[in-house]
């Protein structure tokens, strides 16, 4: 009834908002195109007029440097992807963003530190590394899964029938709780993971790529975990039930699927992936604190949105795209434009990618258009 009277105003306002968004779209695209063209010109002739104006002293990138950027982007991105899966799966079945998922990842990293520190103290880390690695991964999976499942049971299940904003806000509270719980248990000091044994971390040359063993390990473990997850979701009966619950809980129950148990499984599997991610993060960056979950969590959430939230392939692809963009874009777009201190701008790049995706393809790179009735 009153819709008619309200309708004129928002339409008018929408036009000015649209103009602003169009301006941002044009600005970002122009920057990317100009930056990339400047990069190519700089690669061809490092002393061209544009480079002399914007980026004097530019030398361009060598092929090896470029390959290095790709490898570090991929390994960083595959960690984002592992965490992003949890955001995406929970969103798929419950329709809200579990902001405490970053803490599940942190719990995995912390578990890995405590265990590997003990292993190093008794010398097993050096003498039997692969066994240690397997053990810390299993322990991290256990504690992360446990955290995620308890979180669902205590914080989210009682809110199942409330509006989706409520569990979302709750998840921020859960996040603070876990951070401070871990702070209370282990203190604020930065914990450093033991060094990887030399035979594993040394540089290797694969297909002309010079890759640090650590990155190779990260890529391999991430690939195995993602394949296992894919198999679980696409090929097993429980995975099928999970996809059915994500689409229509009432009809899933009509098929005889235990919806509550399936939701717990979803949290558990997402938690396990975050646990593996936590270990890889620890091995890669070798430091962990109670705040470790925050930035990777936000980035992984970004990755999930970039890939199309609710879509598992999208979460992996989103993670890898985001990691690669973070690693490559500063040097091939920002540096040629003469932006100072580009290596500090990783985070800015990541969130700019998010803005770009939201501006041009709000449903994400691989997302389907969501009907308003089943998603908030």
């Amino acid at each position: 009834m009153s819709a008619h009277t309200i309708s004129t105003n928002p339409v008018k306002r929408l036009i000015s908002v649209d103009r602003f968004l169009t301006f941002i779209r044009i600005f970002l695209v122009t920057m990317i195109v100009v930056g990339f063209l400047a990069f190519i010109w700089q690669q061809i002739d490092a002393d061209n007029p544009f480079a002399r104006w914007r980026n004097p002293g530019a030398r361009g990138l060598t092929g090896d440097q470029f390959k290095g950027l790709i490898v570090s982007g991929l390994s960083q991105g595959s960690m984002y992807g592992l965490i992003a899966l949890g955001y995406s799966m929970v969103y798929g079945v419950l329709g809200f963003i579990n902001f405490a998922h970053g803490e599940v990842f942190m719990v995995g990293a912390m578990t890995g530190f405590i265990a590997s520190d003990k292993f190093q103290a008794n010398g097993m880390w050096e003498s039997n590394f692969l066994l240690c690695l397997a053990l810390i991964i299993v322990m991290a999976i256990f504690f992360s899964t446990f955290t995620a499942v308890v979180m669902e049971r205590v914080a989210y299940r009682p809110l199942r029938s409330s509006p989706r904003l409520i569990p979302l806000i709750t998840s921020i509270g859960v996040s603070f709780f876990i951070q401070n719980f871990v702070l209370g248990l282990f203190g604020p000091a930065t914990k450093s993971y033991p060094r990887l044994p030399e035979w594993l971390s040394k540089q290797r040359s694969i297909f002309t790529f010079e890759i640090a063993g650590t990155r190779l390990l990260v890529l391999a473990v991430a690939a195995v975990s993602m394949t296992a997850l894919w198999y679980f979701v696409e090929r097993t009966k429980t995975g099928k039930a999970m996809r059915a619950v994500a689409e229509d809980k009432e009809i899933a129950a009509l098929m005889g699927i235990d919806v509550n148990r399936t939701i717990v499984t979803t949290f558990a599997v997402g938690g396990a992936m975050a646990g593996v991610g936590g270990i890889l993060w620890g091995l890669m960056f070798r430091s962990v604190t109670h705040m470790t979950g925050f930035l990777p969590g936000v980035k992984a959430f970004t990755a999930a949105v970039v890939g199309g939230i609710g879509n598992l392939g999208g979460a992996m692809a989103g993670g890898i795209s985001l990691g690669s963009a973070e690693s490559i874009a500063p040097l091939i777009i920002l540096e040629p434009l003469g932006v100072p201190g580009v290596s500090q701008l990783k985070d800015a790049v990541a969130f700019t990618v998010l803005v770009l995706v939201l501006l041009f393809r709000p449903s994400g790179l691989f997302g389907e258009r969501l009907s308003s009735e089943d998603r908030a």
Binding site: K237, K240, A241, R243, A244, E247, D248, E250, I251, A252, A253, L254, M255, G256, I257, D258, E368
Partner: protein, 248 residues
């Protein structure tokens, strides 16, 4: 229950309501409803909007718990048993508007119908049976079910329900949203399933068509059963003709 409503007298009802009342919050939906579905019957429930038809189905399936009265399955009171218990014991539903899992393939939809079964050979056998019933479905097994036409989706929805080997199939508005040409075909299909010995409990807007194939029927009005009779008697009932069959 009156004795001349055409229901079999000396058999245990497969599924039964005894004086069922339900509430959504403070709103009283079903009021002292008595129903009984006997093995192998084809019965229908008629009623206008908001008369309580969907609630009846949800209560039969255990998605809504009655506030008083009993839901009885094979003589056992199942008020507090979950939906899965009823599915295992041969009750299932083809929901209104089909509600397929649109992002899952046709094959996966059918397999989910057999989610609670563990007999691999039986499942494979039933899949073959459904392919025989719906050759069109077999051609589209790996397609996402959301890409099928309305008629094909109806086939998959019925197939999915049959995969649980039901003894009674509840159908919520089976002809809703189907092209007129398909409605007739759909009713023939229902008769065919019925002739294989599956009891059918149909909730329909299309009263004329439904009564023409049913044995018995009920008319629900604001949550109360106002008529309970054989299909012929209902078809001849002047009151019903006036309100549901668009005459008078």
């Amino acid at each position: 229950m009156s004795s001349d409503n055409g229901s079999p007298k000396d058999v245990t009802a497969l599924l039964e309501f005894r004086q069922v009342n339900t509430h959504y919050g403070a709103v009283h939906i079903l009021k002292d409803v008595d129903l009984a579905i006997y093995p192998g019957e084809l019965v229908c429930l008629l009623g206008g909007n908001a008369s309580g038809k969907s609630t009846t189905l949800k209560t039969l399936l255990g998605m809504v718990t009655p506030t008083s009265g009993e839901v009885v399955l094979d003589g056992e009171v199942v008020n507090n048993k979950p939906t899965s218990y009823r599915v295992v014991n041969g009750v299932t539903m083809v929901p209104e508007n089909r509600r397929l899992f649109k992002r899952l393939s046709v094959k996966e939809n059918l397999e989910l119908g057999a989610y609670l079964r563990n007999d691999k050979e039986g499942i494979a056998e039933d899949l073959e049976k459904i392919y025989g019933l719906f050759p069109r479905v077999k051609e589209r097994l790996s397609q996402k079910s959301g890409t099928l036409s309305g008629g094909e989706q109806q086939m998959v929805a019925i197939g999915r329900a049959l995969m649980s080997r039901p003894r009674v199939l509840l159908m919520d508005e089976p002809s809703m949203g189907l092209a007129p040409a398909l409605v007739q075909q759909n009713f023939e299909l229902i008769q065919q399933i019925h002739s294989d010995g599956v009891a059918i409990f149909m909730v329909e807007q299309n009263a004329n068509m439904a009564l023409s194939i049913a044995d018995r029927g009920w008319v629900l009005q604001t949550g109360r059963v106002v008529l309970d009779d054989t299909a012929e008697a209902l078809l001849a009932n002047p009151e019903l003709r006036a309100s549901y069959l668009g005459e008078g």
